[in-house]
Symmetry: C2
Subunit: 296 residues, 2 copies
């Protein structure tokens, strides 16, 4: 800037020049854009590029191959809904397996339930856990719980070779590109089914019904061939494309609404949940008409 009187160049703050934005596009047509205060850390693991950025809107955030995964201030909707909904549809979930979910948010929510004896997490990319521990201490706190068992490795291999069985298996996967692609296939879902106890539940994140309708349609078709009960529920997740995210509740026996465990809900300390509650548990299964028609 020029001082009008003296005609001298005034010193500007370097901060005023920083105007960096992270934009995640949907097929080049629309997107979410976030002002970035700071590029905190970038690295390349054996599996993917990992970035930590600090956004002005939602604080520090994890980015995997260019997709926002989780942020400090993202309302918690995704991690709370993927864990508490199935846990409170099962009368006594003791053994839980999380595949993916290296940011720790799912495990941390699972272990809020004192009845859970063990939560195993099988994450392929050790670096994701390591980076998230460093930057998201609250989100990853469950990873230090003595009931948490961490396995670093391919979820598919683990499911196909273990002889353990589980009350609940949660597929907390990134999008069906990159390391998670195979874990969206029917054969994998069948392997998961085989590792469930007879009254077990599987929940999988199932993408955006608005932006990924073909994936959603195919996935639910496959799941219905395997599980007697398949119900979609959704949440509003402001950092994900379209902000509209869905989950597949798949079960042998328990229904997510009819078997809602009201007593255990009342006894469990979920006071630090920011999104989940008993009303949203039920309301999240109500689907817009265009989603109902997609799933027909």
């Amino acid at each position: 800037m020029i001082d009008q009187k003296s005609n001298q160049i005034k010193e500007e703050s370097m901060d005023d020049l920083w105007n960096v934005w992270f934009t995640e596009l949907h097929e080049g047509k629309s997107g979410l854009t976030f002002k970035v205060n700071r590029l905190v850390e970038s690295l390349q693991s054996d599996f993917q590029r990992i970035d930590i950025i600090e956004t002005e809107e939602y604080g520090k955030a994890l980015v995997l191959y260019g997709s926002l995964m989780v942020a400090e201030g993202d309302t918690g909707a995704y991690n709370e809904m993927i864990s508490h909904v199935p846990l409170l549809a099962h009368p006594d979930p003791k053994e839980v397996l999380v595949i993916g979910g290296g940011d720790g948010g799912c495990v941390t929510n699972v272990l809020k339930h004192p009845g859970v004896k063990r939560c195993t997490i099988c994450e392929i990319d050790e670096k994701v856990i390591e980076v998230c521990r460093r930057h998201f201490p609250k989100l990853t706190s469950g990873l230090d719980d003595p009931r948490c068992r961490i396995k670093i490795g391919d979820g598919k291999k683990f499911i196909e070779t273990t002889d353990e069985t589980f009350d609940l298996i949660i597929l907390d996967l990134s999008d069906p590109i990159g390391p998670a692609a195979e874990l969206f296939q029917k054969s994998f879902h069948q392997s998961v089914f085989d590792r469930l106890n007879p009254d077990g539940i599987m929940v999988a994140q199932s993408e955006s019904p608005l932006f990924n309708p073909e994936t959603v349609k195919a996935m639910y078709g496959n799941l219905r061939d395997i599980f007697p009960i398949v119900e979609m529920y959704s949440c509003l997740m402001p950092i994900y494309p379209s902000s509209f995210w869905s989950f597949a509740f798949c079960s042998n026996k328990y229904h997510p609404l009819k078997d809602f465990q009201a007593d255990r809900y009342a006894q469990t300390d979920l006071s630090d949940c920011n999104y989940y509650n008993d009303e949203i548990h039920k309301g999240s299964f109500a689907l817009p008409q265009y989603v109902r028609e997609l799933l027909k």
Copy 2:
């Protein structure tokens, strides 16, 4: 581009140079961005700047003073939810008043109910109606229904001077800046209350609970001083900031869930609804924990 062999400059298509984006920011921190195929029309009315753009993601869209209001392919959530929820909580709504809503979407949905004898729309900006009629024939079709009465003028003045009363008054307003600011005040809501029949319902769009928490909190506090029944419901609206939009259901007598008119729902032809259905009617009143706490 340079042809590598001949070293000649190759002609490029002009289309390849068109890379125009419309971005709507929330307090300079985050935003939604849309690829724009075409700037269709821009004008200045007595009240505001009006633009029609053609987006790649959602087709033609109406922009008022830089905010996206409605788009051809926006899923219809906002207009369907602001109209069908109150209409199906009232046993026999005959006289309906819409304040604002110049895009016609609300009126068109209201008039899907054959029991409605008259739907009056009071829009301050004639230009909005004129432009929308030209570009959104389906959305504005209700404006040509013989049961529709169009009043061009200030909604506040209309409410304060009319001696008519209504079964349902819908405040389909733009954000509380510009022409709509006064219509978010308590004194205006009291005037609306006074124009309702004793068993009447008012519904108002009530902004984003995620991005406008202070506005939401103040508005619901005021509404509770006036109406015996005040309930928030929400929808996922992908073209609005945060994609999370709320509505205030305010009533003297009828409760939006207990008085849901299941029989009339079954008899009414809502087959071209893309978002609304009986499940979402109920589910939309389930609120995330952070919204519940905001409204406490």
